[in-house]
């Protein structure tokens, strides 16, 4: 369970919560580059809070977490910006900017961080949108597309700068099985093509079994992680009783 020096992402004795209220504590694990980690657990157990803490969006209540070997809480603003430049986020509601078209949404981080001319930024954005299957919807506004398309557009924006780590919060939530399956394929394809490390929060056990290499099960009763292993091992009786029960109930 302990973190390895080669890990791209680590947390050691991490405690997370809202305000001063601790939801989860004593979280210690690491993730090697190119792996897909799923964070699972019952609703309200702190999955999204953990993901935000790992990605440096929220400060943990105790313990340390590092991304690319840098602790985002103590890092200088320059180091922090450099780390965030190497990460991408997909939020639960996609969080696309509603006043911008899909192309403009994907172009936005490129404009902020790349010194490329408009023509090249446009070309890159079109490629990223084509990659997620939205080549013909580039000039649509977020309000004009379906939930599945919004998720894919959110992923296109998350991978705009070729991040080494992407954080996906409930990518399959609210999607039909077909769209959910397509999204799983897309995540696998991004990992295979770019070697991207993926941290995802999900309730969809079938999706986790399909794509995740490792799985952290958060146990709300114990207030800490109940298991950290390959998701398939949770299906076998005798292994990690609570995680096994969670997987068996939801499969």
């Amino acid at each position: 369970m302990s973190a390895d020096l080669a890990d791209i992402l680590t947390c050691d004795g991490l405690a997370i919560g809202h305000g001063s209220k601790v939801i989860m504590e004593r979280l210690t694990f690491g993730l090697a580059p190119g792996k897909i980690l799923a964070v699972v657990g019952p609703s309200g157990c702190g999955k999204s809070t953990l993901m935000r803490a790992l990605g440096g969006l929220d400060e943990p209540l105790a313990g340390t977490s590092t991304l690319f070997g840098i602790n985002l809480v103590t890092a200088s603003s320059k180091d922090r910006a450099a780390v965030l430049r190497r990460t991408g986020f997909l939020f639960q509601g996609s969080a696309l900017f509603s006043s911008l078209t899909l192309r403009e949404n994907v172009e936005m981080p490129m404009r902020e961080f790349l010194k490329a001319p408009q023509r090249e930024i446009r070309q890159l954005a079109e490629y990223k949108l084509a990659l997620v299957g939205l080549a013909d919807a580039m000039d649509k506004l977020p309000s004009e597309i379906s939930g599945g398309m919004a998720k894919r557009a959110g992923i296109a924006r998350a991978i705009a700068l070729d991040p080494e780590v992407i954080f996906l919060d409930e990518p399959n939530a609210g999607l039909d099985p077909l769209s959910s399956g397509r999204l799983d394929e897309l995540i696998l394809r991004i990992r295979e093509s770019f070697g991207t490390t993926v941290v995802l929060v999900s309730h969809e056990v079938s999706s986790i079994l399909r794509i995740a290499d490792l799985c952290v099960y958060l146990d709300p009763d114990a207030g800490t992680m109940g298991a950290y292993a390959a998701p398939k091992t949770f299906l076998q009786a005798g292994n990690h009783a609570k995680a096994h029960a969670f997987f068996k109930q939801t499969v």
Binding site: S98, S99, M110, L114, K115, A116, P117, E120, Q123, L124, E126, Y127, K128, A130, L131, V132, G133, L134, A135, D136, A137, K140, L141, P142, S143, I145, S146, G148, M149, I159, L161, D162, R189, E192, S193, F194
Partner: protein, 349 residues
């Protein structure tokens, strides 16, 4: 280029931060090869995809498999969820016509629902959020007193100033009190308060109801068997329709006072001004202003509630709803003021 086949050789390092080369694609058969390709990120497949996506025959066979796959993925992945074709000009004109007709239909439907809601309130069958009603009496009424006072005072002051300059030329400065009192009572008190209600209350209602649309709260009300117009719009409209006449009356008196400051600083005494003002303000002119202010209050509140209820489900939609509520409200107030002028003239009011 040989036998109509364009041969492109790529190599070196390709990074997002580096400038991409430009290329003029000739012919519809292209073969891309690599030589000493040391590193590439998504800038290279994006460059190939962007420059050669319209080529009929693109041969990537000699490229590294990962690069081939990244280009092919983008080509194949353009599968979309039921996106329509771009319509022609005639179809767009037709859509605009249909949309306009639909918009008018929705607005009349909302007005109808609002009056039905009022009728149900009168017979005691409406499910209305009375907490909202009380809150709006406070926020749309009492809280608006300072801004109404300021603008009413300045309006009276400006009218008296302009009036004095003109009336002094004919030696009739005493009539500045009549001018200010009559204008404030019949017209400006109600109009200014209506405009303030549009800028302050309409936009707030549009934002509130639009945000509720975004977060599906109005859907939740429907699911509970409640009519959103009755539950949300009726208490708001009722509160503003009651408060705007009171505010307009207040603005009228403050405006007359503002006029007195200027008039008395110049040619008139306080007694002269007040005597003339009391003579000028008849019950008829007060009634005209009061009736108008009731209508303006209803229009301002209805415009906000209507635009909020039809707002698009996005942050942009809420902003648009707030803007269009103010525009719709002010436009309808000015149009109805003109209609009132004709009607009151016909009835000799």
């Amino acid at each position: 280029m040989t036998d109509g086949l364009m041969r492109v050789v790529i190599g070196g390092t390709w990074r997002l931060d580096d400038p991409l080369p430009t290329i003029a694609v000739k012919g519809d058969r292209v073969r891309i090869e690599s030589s000493d390709l040391t590193f590439f990120d998504s800038s290279l497949p994006a460059w190939i995809f962007g420059n050669f996506k319209n080529v009929r025959q693109l041969d990537l066979g000699s490229l590294p498999p990962r690069l081939q796959s990244l280009v092919r993925i983008a080509e194949k992945a353009s599968v979309n969820d039921h996106l329509g074709e771009v319509p022609g000009v005639l179809a767009q004109f037709g859509s605009w016509g249909m949309e306009s007709a639909g918009s008018w239909g929705r607005s009349f439907n909302h007005i109808g629902n609002t009056f039905m809601g009022f009728a149900r309130v009168l017979v005691g069958r409406a499910k209305v959020n009375w907490m909202d009603f009380a809150l709006q009496l406070q926020t749309a009424g009492v809280d608006a007193l300072p801004i109404v006072a300021l603008l009413g005072f300045l309006t009276g002051l400006i009218m008296a100033y302009v009036g004095l300059i003109q009336l002094r030329q004919v030696g009739a400065t005493v009539y500045v009190a009549n001018l200010v009192s009559l204008a404030m009572t019949r017209e400006m008190g109600a109009l200014m308060t209506g405009v303030i209600a549009c800028g302050r209350t309409s936009t707030a209602f549009a934002s509130q109801l639009g945000s509720m649309n975004v977060s599906q709260e109005t859907d939740a009300l429907r699911a509970l068997g409640l009519n959103p117009v009755e539950y949300l719009a009726v208490p708001r409209i009722l509160a503003v329709t009651l408060m705007v006449p009171l505010l307009a009356t207040f603005a009228t008196f403050i405006g007359v006072f503002g006029g007195m400051i200027v008039a008395c600083a110049g040619d008139l005494s306080i007694e002269q001004y007040l005597t003339q003002a009391v003579r000028a303000i008849t019950f008829k002119s007060f009634l005209v202003g009061f009736i108008k202010s009731i209508a303006f209050g209803f229009i301002a509140a209805w415009a906000g509630c209507y635009r909020g209820s039809v707002a698009k489900r996005s942050a942009l939609g809420v902003g648009e709803a707030a803007t269009s509520a103010a525009v719709l409200g002010i436009t309808l107030i000015v149009v109805s003021d003109a209609i009132f002028a004709v009607i009151f003239n016909l009835f000799d009011l």
